[in-house]
């Protein structure tokens, strides 16, 4: 077939792809997405089926029978679990703005830059040969179709080179347009979906042609094949020489690949529009796999039967069959199917790898370069943003160059399928870190790094090293005798493990050490604060989606404009404003208030306000979409000027219970408030009740006290009236008694009225200078008769130079007389009674003491005696004399003078009543004090000490 025709069709086809992608982008821009549906999503996932599927499956089936099904069976078996695993990965990536498998692993393990770089290196080393494989498929199919020689300088290689170049342009145009890698590439996705349809249709057309054109249906093909002994054994699994271990390995590898291959991650996770599309993809994608494999065996058998004499590579049967039977048009169509399978894989894989390389190899280095001056920061950020984009474009070229180089140097000699499986095995090294990271909070960066590193090393040693053996490269002895002649270091039988196929062997040892180190080291050391936090975010992504954002991870006072400048540099003005608006609607309280007349908050003013920590977290996430999580974190840290400090760890650990606690606290608070309110109400009620009761009691006691003199008065008056014949002497005695009892009644009434006045706060003091010594003498005069009646010894010690009190003389007199009469009443009438009256000044108060050696007062009663009618509590016994109001009134008077009264006593030990009266601070205003705060009073007192000294000095001079 004419080379020009093939080349023309090839590039025509690529041009068609450009058109499709362009149309999709236009529709997307017009918000009429062609991509946002589960069918395109499922079809784009079929990027899994590469040229390896297209050509290689037939080749593999020709040699090993049904074994080729293995790598399709794995994804099919896993599909039901997508809803659990893949959806969780999608959710995490969307929330954290992760755009690659390297982002994912790096972010999960403390946003480690090193781990991201390691994953990227593994991907590049593992996948580049796989891309090379696709280039090789394109070249090989060109050779088959045109019959030209397959040399490096030949037209096949040239076609492959140009095709690769065209794909690079396509990828850069449609795959790396914006610095934001989180942006979906609708053009690419639609192109990939179209390619999936094309390769499926092309393969089905070929299959139908072979089965029903060259043969008479499936039965005929299989019958004819069964007639050939060499082919008959391919019908059974055992017969093809494929063991159980190999099957298991194939299943495991393909299961890992469908989730973690960079291109699968790209289409299934990054390009996912709606999680619910997974539901359809879960059965559409396996269906696709089944359909595309329907005709693999018939084509393989057809090739073996029809082309056996030509000595062709079974990988070329797909093209050779229509060619050999003279159907050039069909062959060309089939070739385009193969081209689509190869190109879609190259495009998507390259995008994924370029983002990783840029974000994890290049950006971390650039971000570390400190900006020279603060004022140059904005420019530096803008520069970095451009660099990010350029570096990604550069990475596209680099990846494709590497792949082409690999193809040109090494790849041409390798069979298709092997390279693919070795790639799968490389990607499978991510399984422990990814699954562990999704479901186990204990996994640490150390464990993941060590596991990955060692697993990758073993992968290289056991699976890649053998391919490097050959003339001019590694000696054959490495394989047979082991590295350095050490038998346990044979790549195919590491540590003496023999009897496994090389793939199973490599996977076994690499996973053995990978998983072992991951789990072992994770358990050995506790995770850091950031790791814990990220573990939480990943593992609990479904249960707590927004909390991770609410919890501020950044501390420090970063000026808001700095954060904005950072975003401007990477996202541009439009995107930044849009993002800040989004943020403002989410957290209305987190942004500085907008200046006058501005609708959108804080977009242009320059006031230096610190940014809310949540804004930093938000900015970090936005940047993670452009730079990868590790670089984004470093950048934000450079702006914030602070690391995420131990506060973060506290939050990380406590977050689990935080929400619960918060809810609980709210409830408790409410219930406490309610309880307090209830208690207050009850207390108020009780107080009112007690007050009411006391009022009743008071009234009762008053009337009771009044009844006693009234009784005498009434009885005696009646006696006088009923007995007019009484002796004059007796008559007079009765009349006198009536008079005295009436006086008693009057006294009692005025006391009650007095007390009422004090209680209601109406009593006022008539203050005047009072000489204390004189006052005491007068009071003693008033009770002189009582003292003499009881033969009480009196002791008075009043210094002559006592400062003059500023007080109400009559009231103080009342107090002293009351205390003295109480003392007299307390003394026994046996002539042993002693009463002392003492006074002495201290710094600013005058102390008066009335002391007796009488009955004393029990400690329990000491604070009760100042209550009015204390004996009312003792319903039936009563104090021998007095009204029961004296001490209550005394206390009121003292308190009205801002003084204090208290008693020191014990039963049968006498009593000492103290009165403390302030010498100064006799403020004219009436302060109604009841249980006045002690400390305040003391403070008041110490404040007035100095004045007191001055006054004292004055008074002594006088």
């Amino acid at each position: 077939m004419s080379k020009l025709l093939v080349i023309g069709f090839s590039f025509g086809y690529l041009a068609l792809l450009f058109g499709v992608a362009y149309a999709a982008e236009r529709r997307s821009a017009a918000r009429k997405s062609l991509v946002s549906n589960p069918y395109v999503y499922a079809l784009s996932m079929a990027v899994y089926c590469t040229a390896w599927t297209y050509y290689g499956s037939v080749g593999r089936a020709a040699h090993y029978g049904l074994e080729f099904v293995g790598i399709y069976l794995g994804p099919t078996l896993l599909a039901p679990a997508w809803w659990l695993v893949l959806r969780k990965i999608i959710r995490v990536c969307r929330q954290q703005r992760l755009t690659s498998i390297a982002d994912f692993i790096s972010a999960r393990y403390g946003k480690s830059a090193a781990l991201g770089a390691l994953v990227t290196v593994v991907c590049v080393l593992g996948i580049v040969p796989y891309i090379a494989l696709q280039i090789k498929a394109i070249a090989a199919s060109f050779v088959t179709l045109t019959g030209s020689a397959a040399g490096v300088g030949g037209p096949a290689a040239t076609t492959a080179l140009y095709t690769t170049g065209a794909l690079a342009v396509f990828t850069i145009l449609f795959g790396v347009r914006s610095v934001e890698a989180t942006e979906r590439h609708e053009g690419i996705v639609l192109a990939v979906a179209v390619e999936s349809v094309l390769k499926l249709v092309a393969f089905l057309v070929l299959g139908v042609f072979v089965t029903f054109g060259l043969f008479h249906g499936f039965g005929d093909v299989f019958d004819q094949a069964a007639a050939v002994p060499a082919l008959r054994q391919l019908f059974t699994l055992r017969g093809a020489g494929v063991g159980g271990a190999e099957w298991l390995t194939l299943l495991v590898l393909s299961m890992s690949a469908i989730l973690l291959l960079p291109r699968q991650f790209q289409v299934a996770v990054v390009e996912n529009v709606d999680e619910n599309h997974l539901r359809k993809a879960m059965w559409l994608f396996p269906l696709y796999l089944i359909v595309i494999n329907l005709f693999v065996l018939p084509v393989a058998f057809g090739g073996m039967l029809k082309l056996s004499g030509l000595g062709l590579d079974a990988d070329t049967y797909v093209l050779a069959l229509p060619l050999a039977t003279g159907h050039a048009g069909l062959a060309l169509f089939t070739y385009l199917g193969g081209l689509s399978a190869a190109s879609s894989m190259i495009i998507v894989e390259t995008i994924a790898l370029s983002v990783m390389m840029s974000n994890h190899l290049l950006m971390p280095l650039l971000v570390r370069v400190p900006s020279a001056r603060p004022e140059g920061q904005t420019r530096w950020f803008a520069y970095l943003g451009r660099v990010a984009l350029e570096s990604r474009r550069l990475a596209v070229v680099l990846v494709l160059l590497l792949a082409y180089g690999y193809y040109a140097e090494v790849g041409r000699t390798l069979p298709l399928v092997n390279t693919g499986l070795v790639s799968f095995a490389a990607v499978a090294q991510f399984v422990p870190a990814v699954l562990g990271g999704l479901y186990w909070k204990g996994g640490t960066r150390r464990g993941a790094t060590a596991g990955l590193l060692v697993g990758f090393g073993i992968w290289f040693f056991t699976l890649v090293l053998p391919t490097l053996v050959g003339p001019g490269r590694l000696p054959e002895s490495v394989l047979t005798a082991g590295v350095g002649g050490l038998a346990w270091l044979r790549p195919s039988a590491l540590f003496g493990l023999e009897g496994l196929d090389s793939l199973s062997h490599g996977l076994f040892w690499s996973w053995f050490f990978n998983i072992g180190l991951y789990v072992g080291l994770s358990l050995a050391g506790p995770p850091t604060a950031l790791e814990l936090r990220q573990a939480d975010v990943f593992v609990d992504v479904f249960t707590r989606r927004s909390l991770a954002e609410e919890v501020a991870g950044w501390q420090g006072r970063t000026p808001f404009p700095d954060v904005r400048a950072l975003l401007l540099g990477f996202l541009g003005k439009k995107r930044t404003n849009q993002a800040l608006r989004t943020f403002a609607t989410r957290f209305p309280d987190a942004l500085p208030p907008p200046p006058e007349g501005e609708a959108t908050p804080s977009l242009s003013h320059t006031v230096t306000v610190p940014a809310d920590p949540r804004l930093l977290t938000y900015a970090e996430k936005l940047l993670a979409g452009s730079l990868g999580p590790a670089s984004a974190r470093m950048l934000v840290a450079s702006v914030a000027g602070a690391e995420q400090i131990s506060y973060d760890s506290v939050v990380g650990i406590l977050r689990e219970s935080q929400q619960l606690l918060e809810a609980n606290r709210q409830l408790q608070k409410q219930s406490r408030q309610l309880q307090r309110l209830t208690d207050e109400l009850r207390a108020a009620y009780d107080q009112l009740q007690a007050l009411d009761h006391r009022k009743d009691e008071f009234l009762y006691t008053v009337t009771h006290e009044l009844r006693t003199p009234l009784t005498s008065i009434r009885a005696l008056a009646e006696i006088l009236a009923d007995n007019p014949d009484l002796e004059a002497e007796e008559q007079q005695r009765f009349q006198l008694t009536i008079g005295r009892e009436a006086e008693r009644l009057t006294r009692l009434i005025s006391l009650v009225l007095d007390l009422e006045k004090f209680e209601s706060g109406q009593a006022t003091l008539d203050r005047a200078p009072v000489p204390v010594a004189e006052l005491v003498a007068e009071a003693l005069d008033a009770v002189g008769q009582l003292l003499r009646d009881k033969h009480i010894t009196l002791h008075v010690d009043i210094p002559a130079d006592l400062p003059t009190l500023h007080a109400d003389r009559d009231r103080l007199m009342q107090v002293l007389v009351n205390l003295l009469s109480n003392a007299i009443k307390a003394c026994r009438p046996d002539g042993q009674g002693r009463i002392a009256v003492l006074a002495w000044p201290t710094a600013d108060v005058l102390l008066l003491c009335v002391e007796d050696n009488g009955r004393g007062i029990s400690p329990a009663a000491q604070h009760l005696i100042f209550d009015k009618f204390y004996q009312a509590q003792h319903q039936t016994t009563r104090k021998p004399e007095g009204t029961g109001l004296g001490l209550a009134i005394t206390r009121k008077i003292v308190e009205l003078h801002h003084g204090r009264i208290w008693v020191e006593s014990s039963l049968e030990q006498g009593a000492r009543f103290f009165i403390e009266l302030p010498l100064v601070g006799n403020e004219p205003e009436e302060r109604h004090e009841d249980e006045h705060d002690e400390t305040e009073r003391h403070a008041e007192r110490s404040r007035s000490i100095s004045t007191a000294v001055v006054i004292n000095a004055d008074s002594t001079k006088r």
């Binding site: 009844r707 009234l710 005498s712 009885a715 008694t737 039936t876 016994t877």
Partner: protein
Amino acid sequence: MKTPHILIVDDEPNIVMSLEFLMRKNGFQVGIARNGTEALAAIDQTPYDLILLDIMMPDVDGLQVCRQLRQRPDRAGTKVIFLSAKSREADMQKGYEAGADLYIPKPFSTRQLMEKVRELLGLAA
């Protein structure tokens, strides 16, 4: 018929004075106690026909005096009249529960008191 013997118990001297005059005027024999302790001692010595008993007293109150009296079978014939300034329903209730024959709140009418005393002593009005 033997002269009725009456005990007056009160800590108010003026009340005792008036009651003593009244009782003697009516021809009764009179004993006097100024507090609960004295009253119990007097009761112990003499089987009084009637006691005029105050309640609020410094040491032993009138209720206790009455209760102790009621525990002595040899004083079963003694009548008790409480004379108290405590005038509430509940106070009177307590008085009767302690075993009083009558409870008269202070201040009382001397004529009415004498009527009641005679009544309780079974004398013609």
